[in-house]
Amino acid sequence: MNPFSSGTRLRSDQEHDERKRQHPPVYYPYFLNFLYDRYLKLLYLLLQCRDMIRAIRSCKTAAEERAVVRKECAAIRAAISENDQDYRHRNLAKLMFIHMLGYPTHFGQMECLKLIASSGFPEKRIGYLGLMLLLDERQEVLMLVTNSLKQDLNHSNQYIIGLALCALGNICSAEMARDLAPEVERLLQFRDPNIRKKAALCSIRIIKKVPDLAENFINPAASLLREKHHGVLITGVQLCTDLCKVSSEALEYFREKCTEGLVKTLKDMANSPYAPEYDIAGITDPFLHIRLLKLLRILGQGDADASDCMNDILAQVATKIESNKNAGNAILYECVGTIMSIEDNGGLRVLAINILGRFLSNRDNNIRYVALNMLMKAITVDAQAVQRHRATILECVKDSDASIRKKALDLVYLLVNESNVKPLTKELIEYLEASEQEFKGVLTAKICSLVEKFSPEKIWYIDQMLKVLSEAGNFVKDEVWHALIVVISNASDLHGYSVRALYRAFQTSTEQETLVRVAVWCIGEYGDMLVNNVGMLDIEEPITVTEYDAVDALEVSIKRHNADLTTKAMALIALLKLSSRFPSCSERIKDIILQNKRSFVLELQQRSIEFNCILQKHQNIRMPVLDEATFSGRRAGSLPTSVSTSTGTARNLPNGIAKPAAAPVADLLDLSSDDAPALSSFGGDFLQDLLGVDLSPASAPPGTSQPPKAGTDVLLDLLSIGTSPPAQSSSSASNILSSIQDDKASLANLNGLASLTSLSPNATSASPAPVMDLLDGFGPSPQKKEENGPAYPSLVAYESSTLRMTFNISKQPGNPETTLIQAIFTNLSPNAAVPKFLQLHLDPASSNTLPASGNGSITQSMKVTNSQHGKKSLVMRIRIAYKINNKDVLEEGQVSNFPRDL
């Protein structure tokens, strides 16, 4: 703790105690330790008592320091109360030191005022210093000093005037500024230049505090510009600069009257011979150079004439100043800033950008830093010129200096556009591997945002995100990987590719949490594609993954030692989903899920029990519930917009974790709980995702009394634990549910649903009905199931911005090979094609025009006979040709998400 002790001796505690007993602790100002010198010791003996000398030693702990400071403060306060004249300034000096150590020193403020009020110069000097150190402009005590200041500003001794001006310049408040402005204004014409310069800086403070006073200072300031004394000239130029900032009147005045004079001054300076007094590194007064350039910048901004006037001198400064020393570079830097700010002059701009280019390749880090800084500003002026230095800037991202790295990264971020996003991102991602841990966070955020903003195609986006996730997944923010999942789920042709790539990345490393999460989600959703190598792209290397391997991966992700709750929960859901797709592994999956039954974490335990229940007892709802999650409403639109909107506004929670209270259904049954998109579609999405039923407002006939949202609420309530839904709205739920099907014959599809709704009164009567009861309730309807054959969810076969096509699927009892499909077109002449093993029978469509804005639908029935029933599942290719706004539109798509056993 003691800055003055050269070395510290280590003593055992016992010894320390021993010493303490011999010499009772004497508090001694440790900062007097330097007096531990024989000569000074003698001197000090005369000054202070002997006991203290014996106790000279360092303070080793903060507590000791505090004790010493307390003692000192007490002594000073005692001296203050005794009104000790002789030691007043010495006490104040001590107080300043204590203040500097960070201890409160309010009690000394009045002492400062007293010292200032005394007559001698030494007292005043200390007093003003103390005033500036111990007080700031926000303290009311300051008002008390105004009078003394006024007197001192009129003092006969110029040094005392100097002190007063200095104090006023450093701490004056608005009130003081108003009171003392006339004095300062008068001092601007004082005979001694040192007072004039102080008065000029004081005026700056005054006009900043009280901009109304600016006009009083315009004329005196202009006269300062004609000074020869550099100190006065510098401060005069600064005063003019600040006047221009606060008052447009002053700006006009100086622009008109002083531009030429300033240009001439700068020219004289630039051409002046060697002046030892002001010379720094061979340049005469760089400070004055810089200030003149600053003022010219303000004068030239937005004024073509003034800019013209200074073109020559700027060119001269930019070319003539040598850049081998810091002073020269400082001038060049300021000059570039001025060139960039004043009105356009092509030639000068090129010159300026070239200077920055030279700066960028400089070995000095400081120079490179300011170059990057200035390029950031230049990019708004001339982006093309800055692009030329892209390679150099990119090098700076890899610099060893954190400040430069950060600046360069910011700049690169601004430089990226559609044309160069690929190489730049590649570079950045490569660098991600080598970068330091602290920098990774910033870098990752920037890369993710770039990739999202400019990605030309989905596959590239997925690739880059995968790389980022496997390099620095732990730094990736939640909304970023949520967006990735949305993009993957919406790119139906890349499902297989994504899941395989993620699986591969997952096999290499499980270190990155977010990578694991995305991988787990994809394996859960598209596990079958992983195993069957569906949708293989040419660039892919084939891999063989068995169902067992896929489940393995999920098991690993649950059992990793560092797995967090979210990942584990996601893995559980993925397992649940796989259980229906991988019948061969269902026993194993059940085991893994059961292992979490005793988890200490409520979330996992609950999931484990619920999922186990679903697996054991509810084979019939498993399929619909576990169907692929769809992010409808996002499918439309091109990738970049969909990505950016989903990160910007929508916070997507795939697999709905972490918000169990807010969205119990989503949690339970694994839905995308989009909380941001419009609420009306929210309800629809929910039901659709929940049960695989299309319940967009379009398909709901007007018989429904309640808006769809209410229905959702009911379902939400129904499935949530311990909440009792109002009976009335539960009936509306059944309304909605039954209204999905206008054809009574196909009501059988909704077998599961029907039983669910029929149950709702039960649920309402038993208010704290736990979810187990609810699910168990499916038991009583087995006969119905037998009659009607298995129920299938309706599925969204196709969806584009203008059109949605929904299939309602049913089976004729006793004829498992034939599937009845009822296609509902909302928002058209469809062609459907099926592979050879399928037979297709199309009925005529109910209509051939579709009203706009989704308030109508066309229904067409199809009969598909699967000759290889049980071996292959239904696949269908659809082509839809329609006219919209007199334009022919042809849309094609493949329906491969039929339930497996059709």
């Binding site: 330097f34 007096l35 202070q48 900032k245 606060v246 400082a330």
Partner: protein, 231 residues
Amino acid sequence: MSEKEKQKRSTSSYSSDLELKLGLHQDLKLKIKLHFYVAVLPLSGRLESMSLYVLQIHFVLLISRQGKVRLTKWYSPYSQKERTKVIRELSGLILTRGPKLCNFVEWRGLRVVYKRYASLYFCMCIDEDDNELEILEIIHHYVEVLDRYFGSVCELDLIYNFHKIIYKCFNFWSCLTLKAYFILDELLIAGELQEPSKRTIARLVAAQDSLVESAKEQTSSITSIIAQAAK
């Protein structure tokens, strides 16, 4: 200043009066007072009052390599609590930076320019769009003036250790720290540079010193100090 703040201020100044009377219980009082200040603290480096106008230099800090503060000068209003916080943050930021890195650190939307001379770090805080290179030059300017005043470069390092310098001058223990302040006041006012000539600064400080000396000779001598100590 909002009404609430004013109220707090007045409370704190009231309590400081109380303290003087209560003596030993000051510690407790001070703690309470500091809590008041915590509530008043603005969160960003740029204070509200500062956004009205732009200062060139917000503050000057001298920090030793061990993180001890040697000199602070605040041109923007910071409360005592803020000051301590600023110093703590900045010394953490600056002292950990290796050599050969650039001399600029971004901090709370402001920029801190620092340079190390011997074991002292000279730091100045400026706005984002100021000329950093010039600030480096100002720091060097200050160091050169200090250097000229105190004798040699290496002694500059020792000013604050007092070991050698003390022979030259033992008016009172902190005189050299104060000298550094006086020199700074001749160099900067209101965060703006006032004098580009090293010689002029040295001359002005020396003139004021001699004024102090002559005043002192009139009033006291070493014997009178000893006499007072003996009392």
